[in-house]
Symmetry: C2
Subunit: 369 residues, 2 copies
């Protein structure tokens, strides 16, 4: 069953946030949603963390009229993987984003103007520090689990390594401990596409610089799919309206990238896109440590990892490096390599495959009851 | 030994070229270079075909002062793989390019102005039709071999399938029989980067639209390398001059893409880049046929194929489809999968690995004597 009618909540914290860069951000607002009820012991909370362009609207609908439910509705609700009859599920929009939490499009209280590029560079660790303020606010001492894919998985890793006493387990999907040069390069050309757009104006735009942002998103889409899934979906079909020998004629895959790229302009802020891309590239679970093993030393929560065979953005070998480091330390870890042609997007699409495994994991570690 | 001092040659044909699109292109000029001497029987000629942004300057130097020899000098010269003591080696710049052959930057004799976007969309088959005019001009009835990688390999395939009586063998490296949706999508975003540049002016620029072309080339570089080679070359190192928490700070891989992208602007015409990208995407060896097998039916020349394990632009499975189709027809075919971390660029860099195999192939089929 689906999670029903939900509402967006918001909290602004009293304390400023000291960022990894040494800079101070404040006041910090987080937008979040919750599903299900927090029990009296405040012991049934699960945090779901979102990816790059995600938001707090994880599940349910704001009203019956809303066309689509939240972005990962399929796994949240009564009787679903994250069972809202038993669990209190939380999703919060990360700092740096544009869906209500403090980000570059927010008003800087010191100037009365949008931060734009005066917003500090943030890291995934900073996002999790802000989430911890939210857990304090909600009175949740220990999360049953933190579950997320891609940048959401990075947040789950930060919870497990930075705040080990605050999480009982973590589920990490399609995540890299530190994106490779290839992944960085694909974000680099996406950034470049925006920098090239004259209407970006070094972040001081009034309206989203649409051509640059659409192209940046188009590049992103290539990395979310796979060679196989693109072949299955588009093959070499030519767009019907355009002649094969027309200079501006498009292949169907090309039209798909355009269409989705320009659609994205209506829903995401360009500067947020850039700040979060940077956070992804800077991400290193072993930040400040000599090795993955050193980074994982404090971990107490069992971690369940999922990687997907056709994910070439954060390929399985990167997840396997983490699994090996944790195993070498004798930490409780579980790893599933899922055969899938969906590429990086598989973490959102293959839920029917991984849900039973996550359910078994949560039950085994005693957070499923 | 290197091929010595060479000179660029040029020929303009009397006949117009009827293109695959049905349009007529003329007059057609081809720029070419030759190395070694054509024997009396005109039977020792080898054609080397270039890739996307290549040119006719395959080997040797124009003068002792020239800093670098031609782009594949390592395999051409006295005693080298293509031995200019025995062979007459030819390389011609393709139509559509900007290195002297007729392309969008050429003057349209009918208008007295640059073609720009009035230049017709061309295919790899059209390039080879023009090359055939050059072979007629040079009086070469049959080429000992046609050898090329990437778009050069596509040209070799066109020679073998369209003009089977004109080639005794072919060597095809890092080539696709028809690029996949993923490969098309990567060219699509490169095109998009140029279309977004206001100084492109729908092709009517005076000066190359540098930001768009540089970005397009940057995207190309990602596809020429591999995850492994980028990790080996750049890892996650940050550019020393930029702070990690500087919004505009760059990773080394990012700087590499910028540097090479902007360098490219000085040496290549934007419209040529677009026309050749389109030719790559449109390429299908089975153009007009029902299947690969039907396309390969006319082939008489033994073909030697090389694919490279880390080439994700034209992955080995695509070469293997061709090998299987030829084998099913009982055609003479040889296939080598080379273990390499260099990605698509491996075809240029791994010559020490494949040269002995090419030498043995040419000797076996009797063209090496």
């Amino acid at each position: 069953m689906y999670a029903g009618i939900v509402e967006e909540k918001s909290v602004t914290f009293d304390t400023d946030l000291r960022l990894e860069s040494g800079r101070i951000l404040g006041p910090v607002t987080l937008v979040y949603e919750t599903y299900g009820k927090l029990d009296e012991k405040r012991s049934n909370a699960i945090l779901v963390t979102h990816a790059w362009t995600g938001n707090a609207h994880l599940a349910g609908k704001y009203s019956e009229d809303e066309q689509k439910p939240g972005w990962w509705d399929a796994i949240i609700g009564p009787g679903r993987l994250l069972d809202t009859d038993r669990h209190f599920v939380i999703c919060s929009n990360v700092i740096g984003s544009c869906y209500g939490s403090t980000g570059p499009a927010s008003i800087n209280p010191k100037t009365g103007k949008r931060y734009n590029l005066s917003f500090p560079v943030i890291t995934v660790r900073d996002m999790v520090r802000a989430q911890k303020l939210l857990m304090d606010h909600l009175g949740i001492d220990k999360l049953l689990t933190v579950l997320g894919g891609s940048m959401g998985g990075m947040q789950a890793l930060e919870w497990a390594t930075q705040f080990p006493d605050r999480v009982a387990s973590a589920v990490v999907l399609a995540t890299s401990p530190r994106p490779s040069a290839q992944a960085i390069s694909l974000n680099a050309v996406a950034r470049w596409a925006i920098f090239n757009d004259p209407s970006w104006k070094k972040g001081e735009y009034r309206k989203n610089p649409k051509d640059g942002l659409a192209l940046a998103r188009g590049i992103g889409h290539i990395t979310f799919l796979s060679d196989d899934s693109m072949t299955a979906k588009f093959g070499r079909r030519f767009s019907a309206k355009d002649g094969l020998f027309d200079f501006f004629g498009q292949f169907e895959v090309e039209r798909y990238l355009f269409y989705n790229g320009y659609n994205f302009v209506d829903r995401f802020d360009t500067n947020s896109f850039l700040y979060l891309a940077k956070a992804l590239d800077l991400y290193d679970v072993a930040w400040g440590c000599e090795s993955l093993q050193e980074a994982f030393e404090p971990v107490t929560a069992p971690i369940q990892f999922f990687a997907f065979t056709s994910d070439w953005l954060y390929p399985p070998y990167q997840t396997e490096e983490m699994v090996q480091a944790l195993e070498a330390l004798g930490k409780p870890v579980e790893y599933h390599l899922i055969e899938s042609s969906y590429g990086h997007d598989a973490f959102l699409l293959e839920h029917e495959t991984f849900a039973p495994m996550v359910r078994a994991f949560l039950e085994k570690i005693g957070t499923g009851d």
